[in-house]
Symmetry: C2
Subunit: 253 residues, 2 copies
């Protein structure tokens, strides 16, 4: 089973890129973040024509998540329990016996800001939700845009990013607590320890051309799922009108 996660930064603009990905990577489950589309504008037909099922939780200009799946999407939920919020940032569904949780973690803007506090509260609620889901689902995946670079290894220039958003000790602590629930960071697990790999490059300052990336998109697997291969398809960041994120893929058994 191939899992792919991609922050598309507007599905409206990126639909051709996503269709290209379906043809190239043949995902069984594709988790999208930042669709930026209200539900009545979601391009379901594009996916259904290709034999996929779709589920989405969208809003107008911001956020928005979707699941595209070759198999039925069951027990769908689009919120974090006990976290009252209009922002569409989570979408969970069961696919072929695997519980999939698609997340678009808040960016946080900068440490000390109200948005950073919101990010922390959101992650608290996510931790509780994932812990709860793990108690019910042996086979479980949390994937998406976490807006957290788990270690200095995941940042092109750790000194420059120290204590910056996505790299603070507090955010990394949240990421560790997530793994401590019994999850494995598939890409990090699969690649050699000294191999740097990034999933996001700022649009500004020609960050991609200069190799200024961060690894902030992740696929986390419960221990009963075996990883066969994993990677990041950087070619999508090099295309015309690209998203600022590249898709992450994992083959599981």
């Amino acid at each position: 089973m191939r899992l792919v996660s991609w922050n598309v930064n507007s599905l409206n603009v990126r639909l051709p890129h996503v269709e290209h990905l379906l043809d190239k990577l043949h995902p069984d489950v594709l988790a999208l973040q930042e669709t930026k589309l209200p539900d009545d504008r979601f391009p379901s037909e594009a996916f259904e024509q290709r034999g996929f099922q779709v589920s989405f939780a969208g809003q107008k200009t911001y956020n928005g998540v979707a699941l595209i799946s070759r198999y039925p999407l069951e027990h769908v939920r689009a919120d974090l329990p006990g976290f009252n919020d209009a922002q569409r940032r989570v979408l969970a569904a069961t696919v072929a016996g695997v519980r999939i949780i698609n997340v678009y973690v808040p960016n946080g803007q900068e440490p000390d800001s109200e948005k950073f506090a919101y990010k922390c509260r959101w992650l608290d609620a996510l931790l509780a939700f994932v812990a709860d889901e793990l108690s019910a689902h042996d086979r479980l995946v949390v994937m998406g845009d976490f807006n957290i670079a788990p270690a200095d290894m995941d940042v092109h220039d750790a000194a420059r990013w120290r204590d910056k958003i996505m790299c603070t000790a507090l955010e990394r602590e949240y990421f560790r607590r997530l793994l401590a629930l019994g999850l494995v960071d598939a890409v990090r697990e699969q690649l050699p320890e000294d191999r740097t790999i990034y999933t996001w490059w700022d649009y500004r300052l020609s960050a991609f051309r200069r190799g200024w990336g961060l690894r902030i998109d992740h696929v986390l697997l419960s221990e009963s799922l075996r990883i066969r291969a994993a990677g990041v398809d950087v070619s999508y960041r090099a295309m015309d009108r690209p998203s600022d994120h590249a898709p992450v893929w994992v083959d599981v058994q």
Copy 2:
């Protein structure tokens, strides 16, 4: 000598179309309207690379006129005498002994509006300017977007447009007074009397596809200039991302 006038509705967006026109129509003088560019963003190099001289009077979001010429642009002026106005709507220059006046006449919004009154005042000032220039220049051209359809013949549906902006008796009277100074409407002169031809089609309601056009862009020639041929190149209205106007061309001797 080939003269071309085109309202490009943003030179920023339409530069590729304009370059295409230079290669296809080989104008000696190209008058552009609605460049919508401040002078520090005018793409002079694109024209100079091809051996043209440029002169422009631009502003930020609205209006803006330019002259692109194979021959030197002399005695340039970018205002109407006695008409104090920040809007960049006129650019006059002498090219190879021919006085060229490039105009972007105000649209006027709707009759009775303050903008219509402005259009009339602007046309008063234009009449005085052209009369004055004619006394000094035997060979003279006034070309541009006049925002006036001179006769019912120049409107796809005269009944529907009666007393609408661009078709009011008052605006047509201004146009007649301009001709009465000693100018000839080159395209009307050159084409058979019963031949309809348009230069502008609204972006809305698929006006171009339906043939709902108006002839509001004109090239007016003093009587000492002989017309050899004239026309409207409608193909530019059918291109991708078109301007809502098509270019008008006239060959003079």
